[in-house]
Symmetry: C2
Subunit: 698 residues, 2 copies
């Protein structure tokens, strides 16, 4: 991977003969960006471009360059690529569009490109890419004139679009390195992450994905790297998840994006929802080391913004630190004894009375930073352009405050009024202070910083996600390769995986039924079992809520004579005596994600399933830790624990059922979908009442 980011030599094929305004000439851009390696240009028709003597064919080059950058029309890409490969070039960037990003012909061309690359042992970046940018080595394959960062930050971006390089200000704010994997026909996220893991110039990783490319391999690598380098991910196409609502029931709940979300969370990735959050979070990671706890100290020149900060804290998961009483004396002013000191600290009245906003702000900041219960500071400061307000030297103020910040707690600013740009520019070179575009963005950024810190700490005592689990065939051998299993047939499979169906036995007469019922404990249910009575409920073949032996006898005989009357020639297999189970209705199942494989699902069952969509998911196989986390993530978890004097349900039994599903998913890759709905959960135990398994060739 190293040579992708720092080639000593490269050849460009497809360079425009035009240059200057509107030409999008990547040779011109490469030179402007300051590339210092050896550049070769291949062009069949002209002798010179921008002062570079061109070569008519690749074979004419005086050396084998470390990289080729191809931007010819799609129909010429394969032959140019072949020339490169024949000549011994090992890395090829295919900027050209019109491959899997376009039509069927494009997909075909891309497949041929990949085959050709594999055969020659050549690696490909793209197609449909802007390529690579490296501000450290001044290397940039793109066709847009991007200013080189003279002091590159340790932030590396891996995206599927060039817009994150061209418009980096709006996304990651700054760029040290960037790679656009484009269609990712060959080089993909997992491999790049693998490299970045040990790249000393990369301390922050930012991803843009349009689908979880690389599936499990990506997740495993990302989960490993995320434990010591923050990975911020903008995964777009969230809304298509909705459109792909799967056909059947569990499917409709486990839309693709919610699975991605669960997997990212488990892997410790910092998912951002949109560009606003991306920018805020990148800004926080670019400026700050860490935020040790959730408690924010706030200093504001206006009470109204203190309240807005409190709202934002609740929205994004931070808390307002308690006001440090120790600093009260140093801040109070006898001329306005009525002024109330809290966190947020409203310094405006104090500044007006004392004549120095700066001094009051500094005192408050030092006091807050000194307090152990304050994990970060947000300052809300008017930045007024008027010469009448020119007495605010924010840079000096911030430097002074930083001397009282030995633990490097994050200090964020939100500036308002007409001098924002001017003040923000002045502060831009202060590495440890960030000016955010709104209070909300400041809190979003800090909250992500804190969440990541918490993840890193908790991860130490958690098992690694996406555990491997060996198949235990045997029981699985009996599961058909395709078709649909329902009712008893599905329950039979589940029983082998510690997922009990409702206890019950068949009886042929009322006496035997009574013995069974005594064993099961009343109340019980009776059900006619006959191939002619598949829809037994509709036919009146079910009797519920039988409370004692007398009722059982009556009911048994009534059912029997009802059956004989309705279907005189019907063949009765028996009458099923089943425990009448009650409890909380829980839904469980397996769903297969097209990119990530099997997913174990648990949620609120019964009639509320679809309206509340209270579902937790985890990629199979899962560990016991995951099973517990899934149950705890449910809205109904307090009910499962027991509320209002009700006993809690057998959570261990539920967790074991989830582990059983996980093993089943591993053993039977042909399961496309499995719904257990409902599972009845009570303090006496948990039983699967009904199940439906959709099988398809894996």
């Amino acid at each position: 991977m190293h040579s992708w980011f720092e080639p000593q030599s490269l050849v460009l094929i497809g360079v425009s003969r035009k240059s200057g305004v509107g030409a999008y000439n990547n040779l011109e851009m490469l030179e402007r960006y300051g590339y210092r390696g050896r550049i070769y240009v291949v062009h069949p028709k002209v002798d010179e471009i921008l002062g570079h003597r061109t070569f008519p064919v690749i074979a004419a080059l005086p050396e084998v360059p470390e990289m080729a950058v191809i931007s010819v029309g799609r129909e010429r890409v394969l032959s140019v690529f072949d020339e490169c490969a024949q000549f011994g070039i090992k890395r090829v960037v295919v900027i050209s569009q019109g491959f899997a990003d376009a039509d069927e012909r494009g997909k075909e061309l891309q497949m041929q490109l990949v085959t050709m690359a594999r055969n020659h042992g050549v690696r490909v970046l793209g197609p449909n890419t802007m390529g690579i940018l490296n501000a450290f080595t001044r290397f940039n394959t793109g066709f847009v004139d991007i200013a080189q960062d003279p002091d590159p930050p340790p932030l590396t971006l891996v995206a599927q679009s060039g817009v994150f390089q061209v418009g980096f200000e709006s996304f990651s704010r700054r760029l040290g390195k960037a790679i656009d994997v484009g269609n990712a026909a060959d080089l993909d996220f997992a491999e790049v992450l693998d490299y970045l893991e040990h790249d000393a110039q990369t301390e922050i990783i930012v991803l843009h994905m349009e689908g979880v490319r690389g599936g499990r391999a990506f997740l495993e690598t990302a989960a490993r790297v995320a434990r010591y380098k923050p990975i911020i991910v903008l995964k777009t196409g969230r809304s298509t998840a909705g459109a792909r609502a799967a056909l059947s029931h569990t499917g409709s709940l486990v839309g693709e994006d919610v699975v991605v979300d669960a997997a990212f969370t488990r892997a410790g990735l910092i998912r951002v929802r949109n560009m606003i959050e991306m920018r805020a979070v990148c800004q926080a990671f670019l400026h700050y080391h860490s935020m040790a706890g959730p408690n924010l100290g706030v200093i504001t020149a206006t009470g109204a913004c203190g309240i807005m900060t409190a709202d934002a804290c609740e929205d994004y998961g931070l808390e307002l630190a308690p006001f440090p009483e120790a600093i009260r004396d140093g801040l109070e002013n006898p001329h306005i004894a009525w002024h109330r000191l809290n966190n947020p600290v409203d310094v405006w009245p104090l500044g007006m009375v004392s004549g120095s906003f700066t001094n009051v702000f500094k005192n408050a900041a030092r006091g807050l930073l000194h307090d152990d219960r304050v994990d970060a500071l947000l300052g809300i400061v008017p930045a007024l352009a008027s010469p009448l307000h020119a007495d605010l030297d924010l840079v000096a103020m911030m430097r002074d405050i930083q001397t009282a910040n030995p633990r490097q707690k994050p200090i964020a600013l939100w500036l308002y009024a007409d001098g924002i740009d001017q003040q923000a520019r002045a502060l831009a070179n202060e590495p440890d202070v960030a000016c955010f575009a709104s209070i909300d963005e400041a809190v979003m950024g800090l909250a992500a910083l804190y969440r990541y810190r918490r993840f890193v700490e908790q991860a130490k005592s958690q098992p690694a996600p996406f555990v491997s689990l060996s198949p235990k065939p045997g029981a699985a051998a009996a599961v058909p390769k395709d078709g649909v299993l329902v009712g008893e047939a599905a329950l039979d499979v589940l029983r082998h995986y510690n997922i009990p169906g409702v206890p019950g036995e068949m009886a042929m007469d009322a006496g035997a039924a009574a013995v069974i019922a005594d064993r099961l404990h009343y109340p019980v249910v009776l059900k006619i079992v006959s191939l002619q009575w598949l829809h037994k409920s509709d036919l009146g073949g079910v009797c519920l809520n039988i409370k004692n032996g007398e009722e059982l006898r009556t009911a048994f005989n009534e059912l029997l004579s009802h059956f004989r009357r309705q279907t005189p020639s019907g063949e009765l297999q028996g009458i099923l005596v089943q425990k009448q189970v009650s409890g909380i209705e829980v839904l469980m199942g397996i769903k297969r994600d097209p990119q990530l494989g099997p997913v174990v699902v648990v949620g609120t069952g019964g009639i509320y399933t679809e309206v509340f969509r209270d579902v937790a998911r985890c990629l199979a196989p899962i560990a016991a830790f995951d099973a517990r986390e899934m149950l705890q993530a449910l809205h109904i978890y307090p009910i499962l624990l027991g509320t209002r004097g009700q006993k809690g349900v057998d959570l261990d039994a539920l967790a074991n059922m989830l582990l059983g599903l996980s093993q089943l998913a591993v053993d039977c890759p042909q399961i496309g979908e499995l719904d257990l709905n409902p599972v009845m959960a009570s303090h006496e135990g948990c039983w699967c009442v009904d199940a439906r398994m959709v099988l398809a060739q894996a």
Copy 2:
């Protein structure tokens, strides 16, 4: 109100002797802002400030000014105010802090101020206010140097803080007029709204509230005005709502902020959640007339941002318009026949091949704007600072596109790359194009525009909200003034309001019970009624699920002998034969909001109440329209309608019960809280099983 915004003369009391940098001198600011009325300055110690001869006392003024602006220390405010009043001044702005915003003494001073004002027929703005800003007449009472907008927009801000004037760029983007009501001791939101309703310079109203000041009066005025002038509201302090979680059950669900939210929605106010949304929405209303439907056409220079736009549309409630097939031929380019045209329209490949991004963008824009199914346009455009990309003249491009936009559909832009500021500045004077700070903000703004348009249209056929309803005493007369009513006592009150309890009658013997049960239809429930058996369930005094006459007889006699055995001297009032009701558990009730009064509540009942918090609310009294809307707003509405082959519940019965609660709330203002939990709702009817009414002197 007019004179508040355009006084011809005013007197300043409390002007600082200092001026210049850091002085915050409001006389200096008033003059810099360009005020052209007559200014008087009262100062006890100096003869002249900033070239103005001062007067030692107000009585020495040569005329009675239209307004006084007081910024002395809080202890001197009352005496200065009294002087003003004595002199005949009718409008006083009290800038000074330290009143209800501070301590008990401050509250007391504020009450005295209000009393004094009422006695003299003087109106007060504040205390704790920045006062008034009017860019049209160049009038500004604040102590911060704010630049006057030479072309004031028709946007008026009413806030409870000066930060919205000082930092308007971050909130409403621009200001025509602004008023800070501060502590709103006298002049309050409703009165200002009342004035703005007919103010020709006000087409957009923006509010910042820290609580719904003025309660019903505010809501009624706002609801009236909102039908023809958009009212954008940032109501902060959302998070304190959580802290105020009420003691009892319905209380915990009807936190203050959710009530506000329901009331604002019903009034047609455009609530924004934070400053990001406020800025985006104000920008949309400042630039655009209306958005007729939800369908967005998107032109983008990058496919990645098209996907982000699709995500944002789903997040904020817009849709992507279908691609207008009629424009396909005009856009396709034979050199890249593989290029797929959709909405979002990715124009980059077309621009690269044709050599003119501008022409392709203009073609696409004209085509989209011409299509009836496109209600607004979003353009995603690189704004590159490099001289190599200087061929993009966005202003010319936009003007050209506007000529093809006779219906004035909104055209929004999101720019990226290092030339954003430069291009945005150039576009700032184009009244009909707005550059948003992110794709999400563009979509937020347009979505608010569309929602408001839809509200205005729907409001035509809706009854006005917050209907008035006369009390119908009678039944209400029997309700005690305080205490708590539970069980039958509460159900008795409810029956008078068309809220039926579960049907049932008392029987003294099994024969009578059987007659009653036949009338009620099986299954039935039997319950011992005795003053000695208040906790009848715990004592075994209840028998459920009795299915026929035989079971009834057995159960009746068993209960009777059980009662005699357990309490031989107990006095039996009878055995209650009650219909065993089943169905969907629904929660209903009344909650009293401290600012807005009684609120009717409906939601998911039973064990899921607290975990899903599926609740709809409406200020009482409600109309039949509101009752239906409330039911439709519930997550469980599809279940109430009937799903999975289940019959729907009697929605009319539920709606009538809500109307009954509404009447009850009007009749009995002493009801602090009323919970009906559960109401059992089925297709046969809806019955209240249990109720709890907390009464307190109104």
